[in-house]
């Protein structure tokens, strides 16, 4: 039914983004400084990265709320490995592998049982958060020696700083005018878009989202596809965790724990249906930018950060209500048109 590009949800989001930037710029011209604008994205791109991964999962009609814990887990794994003397490149690979593995574990349990994905990933959310916060003490108990008082346990509260420049560049560096975190985000979003719209795997995701049962009978490898998509989501969450770690130049087990509302809002505002079968990575990306700049803009205007979640929550509910409303209007219009054609046809015959 998409008659033109201009009626698509993504186009509306892009328009909202432009209007938002103009309005915020009119109120506070300093906001429109292009360099500021680009670099302020570093505050919130971790939400977009995680949301892109979640978009793929939600496409299948699934859900994964454990991503926020995987962010912290990847961060603390990187930090502890670094303190233990592992070269930083290997630390990054290890942290990403942990994210991938955690996601694949989610996917395996979800695909092999009929338990609601929300329940499974709720358990995983606690499990990964607990492992992340417990890892330092576990290493102490296992007798790994580390320089400095308090052993690994001290890192649990303070975070691990002193990460090398070559790593923190991921979060704080820039290529020309473009900050590295934004480049990583665009690369991941582009990769996910390609995966979703240009590969067989992407078609499988949508098929499963429409009906897992039908997909299975059609010969779609449902289990393999689900494990892969949850693994990719875990990977995205780990990347988000590492970008955030590099940006804060400190590895902590509780990084990203507050991001759940923002991540799901970005996905849903981006046009994905949580019932599956509908969604777009571009929409999620744009929605993430809209949300992020809104937050930045409100803070720049001196509005208390306490009000921001109220507005984000209202946006989430409002956008879904709007879509439902549009759907109802569309159905009504189609019904009326069908009725009129029918009547014309009957009238013509009579």
């Amino acid at each position: 039914m998409k008659s033109s590009v201009f009626k698509s949800w993504e186009f509306m989001l892009a328009a909202v983004l432009v209007v938002e930037l103009i309005v915020l710029g009119l109120i506070n011209p300093a906001f429109l400084n292009i360099e500021n604008l680009l670099f302020s994205t570093s505050d919130f791109v971790h939400v977009i990265i995680a949301a892109v991964g979640l978009t793929l999962v939600i496409m299948t009609g699934g859900m994964d709320i454990s991503g926020v814990s995987v962010m912290g887990l990847a961060s603390i794994v990187l930090g502890l490995a670094f303190v233990a003397g592992v070269p930083i490149g290997a630390c990054v690979v290890l942290a990403l592998a942990v994210g991938l593995g955690a996601g694949a574990f989610n996917g395996t349990v979800i695909a092999k049982t009929d338990v609601n994905p929300l329940v499974i990933t709720l358990a995983m959310l606690f499990l990964y958060a607990g492992v992340a916060s417990g890892l330092p003490t576990l290493l102490d108990m296992m007798g790994f020696a580390v320089a400095g008082a308090g052993g690994f346990e001290a890192y649990q509260y303070e975070g691990i700083s002193g990460l090398p420049k070559s790593f923190t560049w991921i979060g704080t560096g820039a290529v020309g005018w473009v900050p590295v975190p934004l480049i990583i985000t665009v690369v991941i979003a582009a990769g996910a878009t390609y995966l979703m719209h240009r590969t067989r795997f992407g078609r499988f995701l949508k098929l499963i989202g429409v009906s897992a049962e039908v997909a299975r009978f059609t010969g779609v490898p449902v289990t393999r596809t689900l494990v892969t998509v949850y693994a990719l989501n875990g990977f995205a969450a780990a990347v988000a965790g590492l970008v955030l770690t590099a940006y804060f130049t400190s590895a902590r087990s509780d990084l990203g724990a507050e991001a759940l509302l923002n991540i799901i809002t970005a996905v849903v505002l981006g046009g994905s249906s949580i019932y599956g079968g509908q969604g777009s990575v571009l929409g999620t990306f744009l929605a993430g930018l809209v949300l992020g700049f809104l937050r930045q803009g409100l803070l720049a205007l001196g509005i208390s950060s306490d009000v921001v979640p109220v507005i984000v929550g209202a946006l989430l509910i409002g956008s879904v209500a709007l879509k439902i409303g549009m759907g109802v209007l569309g159905t009504r219009r189609a019904n009326r048109r069908a009725y009129e054609t029918e009547r014309a046809a009957v009238g013509g015959n009579g």
């Binding site: 859900m63 349990v109 049982t113 009929d114 338990v115 609601n116 929300l118 329940v119 499974i120 709720l122 358990a123 995983m124 959310l125 606690f126 499990l127 990964y128 958060a129 607990g130 492992v131 916060s133 417990g134 330092p136 003490t137 346990e153 649990q156 759940l260 509302l261 799901i264 809002t265 849903v268 949580i274 019932y275 208390s304 306490d306 009000v307 921001v308 979640p309 109220v310 507005i311 984000v312 929550g313 209202a314 946006l315 989430l316 509910i317 879904v320 209500a321 439902i324």
Partner: protein, 343 residues
């Protein structure tokens, strides 16, 4: 044995007792009455929001805003007390706040048709933000300290608060058992279309579930403030996920239509007991979440395996029966044909 395994409340209760006894072999202090009373006492908050959550999950919804509702109700409770209201009136204010907040969720879910997780996630942010806006981000500390009397006064060594919640839970359980309309929660959760055809008011039932969830969150707020005597900004933070974990652990399926008040009670007790057991085993508190997550995961997967085994057995039995019936029919068919040929 199979019957115990099939009732999730009993299964978790057995697990709970088993866990406490296992820990007791390492550290006898677990079995002191005071320890057990303390576990129950510190589970009251989670228990109440879990009971509220139970209604919503039973009707196939989910309410992730209960922690924020409890926070908001606690703030209103604190304001009311500081304004010099008598305790009962302040309590009613807190309960009304909770019920209203729940009703807002209900309006979005029932009348607009927003998916429950989206609606309540949105209001989670909104209520929490609103709570901070109301207080300006600072704690409410100057509450008259006589409200703590409920938590401090003990009858038979057990705090009055525990007695009060126990009475409340039993009353709710009896009401749900005796009132016919209470069955509507099960019916709507199991099959909303079927319930509609039976003449059950589906919308009203779901509306009631969300409102009750808010109401119990308000009650939880009263308990919380009564126990600690002030209102910190973190009130109810992260408790929404614990409440869902508690009811799911206790056997309420997110697909609706199952579970009881006891699911919520036992689930909440178990999750709280896990935290205490860690202390008695000298495991650092940083592992609490990992253990809670592992238990929840283990129980739901185990539950799935049992259901699968039961279903497979039923299917096998039915298949055998059909094969037998088919064989009988064949024999019958051949005998009639021979009779026909003979005639």
């Amino acid at each position: 044995m199979m019957k115990i395994l099939k009732s999730r409340e009993l299964l978790v209760l057995v697990l709970l007792v088993g866990m406490i006894l296992a820990v007791a072999t390492q550290n006898k202090a677990v079995l002191y009455p005071i320890t057990l009373i303390n576990i129950v006492n510190s589970s009251l908050f989670l228990m109440l929001i879990a009971v509220g959550q139970m209604f919503v999950v039973q009707t196939r919804g989910i309410d992730v805003s209960v922690g924020a509702i409890a926070g908001l109700s606690a703030v209103i409770f604190g304001f009311a007390l500081n304004a010099g209201m008598p305790l009962p009136l302040a309590m009613i204010c807190a309960l009304i706040t909770g019920a209203l907040a729940g009703a807002v969720n209900a309006v979005g879910v029932v009348f607009i048709g927003i998916p429950p997780i989206i609606m309540t996630l949105g209001t989670l942010g909104a209520y929490r933000g609103f709570m901070r806006v109301l207080t300006g981000g600072s704690w409410i500390e100057s509450i008259p300290q006589n409200i703590k009397s409920f938590a401090v006064t003990r009858y038979m060594n057990i705090p009055l608060m525990v007695w009060a919640v126990a009475v409340l839970v039993i009353v709710v359980a009896v009401l749900l058992w005796r009132i016919r309309a209470a069955r509507n929660f099960y019916a709507v959760g199991d099959n909303a279309d079927g319930a509609y055809l039976l003449g059950i008011n589906v919308k009203a039932t779901r509306f009631a579930a969300f409102t009750l969830s808010g109401l119990f969150a308000g009650a939880a707020a009263i308990v919380f403030v009564g126990q600690i005597g002030f209102v910190p900004m973190q009130t109810g933070n992260g408790q929404e996920l614990k409440a869902i974990a508690a009811v799911v652990l206790g056997g309420v399926s997110l697909m609706g239509g199952t579970g009881s008040v006891w699911s919520a009670v036992i689930g909440a007790l178990f999750l709280t007991a896990v935290d205490s057991m860690m202390i008695f085993l000298h495991v650092p508190g940083s592992w609490n979440n990992a253990v809670a997550g592992a238990v929840l995961l283990g129980v739901v997967v185990f539950d799935y395996l049992i259901r699968r085994t039961v279903r497979n057995r039923q299917l096998a039995a039915r298949a055998a029966e059909m094969r037998r019936a088919e064989a009988d029919q064949d024999r019958g068919a051949t005998s009639t044909t021979t009779r026909e040929m003979a005639s």
